[in-house]
Subunit: 334 residues, 2 copies
Amino acid sequence: MNIRDIAAKAGYGVGTVSRVINDQPNVSEQARARILTVMEECGYEPNSNARYLKMQSQTPVAAFVMGVGNRLFGDILGPLQTTLAEANEDLVVTYLDDDADEVRAAIAYQNARHPKGMLFLGGEPRYFAEAFHEIEVPSVLVTGSAADLGFERLSSVTIDNEAAARCLCEHLLEHGHRRIGIIGGSKTGNQTSTLRLAGAVAAIRARGISFDIARDYEPCDFHEAGGYEAAQRLLDRNGDLTAIFALGDVIAFGALRAIVDRGLRVPRDISLAGFDDTSFSQYAVPRITTIRQNAEQLGRAAARILLANMHDGAPAAHEVGPFELIERESVRAL
Amino acid sequence: MNIRDIAAKAGYGVGTVSRVINDQPNVSEQARARILTVMEECGYEPNSNARYLKMQSQTPVAAFVMGVGNRLFGDILGPLQTTLAEANEDLVVTYLDDDADEVRAAIAYQNARHPKGMLFLGGEPRYFAEAFHEIEVPSVLVTGSAADLGFERLSSVTIDNEAAARCLCEHLLEHGHRRIGIIGGSKTGNQTSTLRLAGAVAAIRARGISFDIARDYEPCDFHEAGGYEAAQRLLDRNGDLTAIFALGDVIAFGALRAIVDRGLRVPRDISLAGFDDTSFSQYAVPRITTIRQNAEQLGRAAARILLANMHDGAPAAHEVGPFELIERESVRAL
DNA sequence: CCACTATTTGGAAACGATTCCAAAATTGTC
DNA sequence: GACAATTTTGGAATCGTTTCCAAATAGTGG
């Protein structure tokens, strides 16, 4: 069942049918109606391979999501996909571990199919920096800043992680905390976490309080186990901490468990804060103070920027969305 | 840069180049080496649209994941993708809400691209039952049973949810619980949850204990908020429950919060059990007793079955994997 | 060295769409 | 009613592969 069959059945030429399929002008109402009817009757779907072949290869927009565990990405993807769909653009999502080799392979694979655009959610920009050189289509880094990466076709959508972390730390400081520990951000370094750490440290030092990275900070991977172990190590080193700031809710969740396992209570013995406002922080016992990113806004902004890049040839843009401090029960005033 | 350019540059015909690309026999070592060199030099990648068009359209295997929040699926997808990759099959994943319309649209979209095979993770089989009629490629339902659905090309990989729920309930009963409440399974019914519910109820009634669905069971959506509300309603109705069995860890997590909000403690005042052994249950305070599915085994089995269906034309298979009761702190003996 | 088979090669046809240009039909004007 | 301008239509050429068949080449045994 191809376009020629439809044309024959409808009593028109393939050109006319093609024009109907693509909503192009110069087709009589009569022809359009008749052809649509026949297409409907036959359950005809244009062959996308033939189509993309002729149209100089245009597979849909490809999205890469690094870190399946992070629920924030699910919340971003929904509105993103919706916005894209409104512009009739399809989205193919690939979920990956944030591992250099895996990321490279996945990008190479999708790149070979010449998508119209690409989206990167999470993940360490360094891992795919070299892959970017091979990408010739507009791309958006979501949840990471690309402004200083210097790739011409790479836009970005993110919040000001540094400011958000500063804001959260100031909240801790205002509640009287002076000995604050920080956990999160992989040992190999990670852009987002690095920014959050910088913001937090800046806020603390701005009050004239000393913060010794080697002593008061503990890196860890982005999952519960990482947070658990990091909190253990940090508390082993520092018996006098009154608050721990985890650079992600998932990490905070692991840390919470570690704190409890030491026989301490949150927030009575120690205060705890996270980042991202996932369901973890909302439902944990106690509920965890955190920073909320507007996932819907981020998702829509990413789609909007990508569409502008793709259709109108707009230059790369770098959008910085708002954040919000969510005060819950896990932080107490001293 | 197309196959003809390569052929010309290498001094061979397009047929020979095509044979090299597809690792086919009847090519001299000399020709193969020369052509590979030229391809390498030019950074040539065969156009996949042209390729799939000619090969009667064969896009990669398509996977649909219903329920982004469920971390179990992430754990299944990893080994699944690995096994597929070993057979040189690529995987395109689509994440969806478990909503009838959305699921239908996504399946239709992927189906039009004629994938080699399809995978369904989670989701309510009823939602895509009608879509199945249009699917002409082998498919595997992961985490759901298709044995009784009667689709010829639909295999399935799952655990015996009924037996697992029975096992967990027996565990509760052995610990002296007699008034057990159950939450989970959407109001509109859901295959997996229905089986779990059936197993649980059977175990309870087998002991001669009455279980009144209308009183002792409360349906809810598969997320924390659902578990929270369901637990509230259930406890409002039944002040005498000594244990709650949530048909999913996520639900258990919400329920835990609800219990605490009523001023009760787990497991002192009430015991709690979940299902799936996600990180929630592992790190929650208290740690939650649950059923573990072997995600790696399920993922690999799904890939193996699909590959057999695709390559060897094997008939649909229905594999039932093992489960394991994980005893933690949330259940106490009365 | 020939006849015959097996291997290697070249290239036309096909896959199913889009795109263009020319032809046909319609509309408008005087 | 004739002619120009415009809209609508048909269909060949094209995109970059694979697949087939025929042709060329290499290999073998007598």
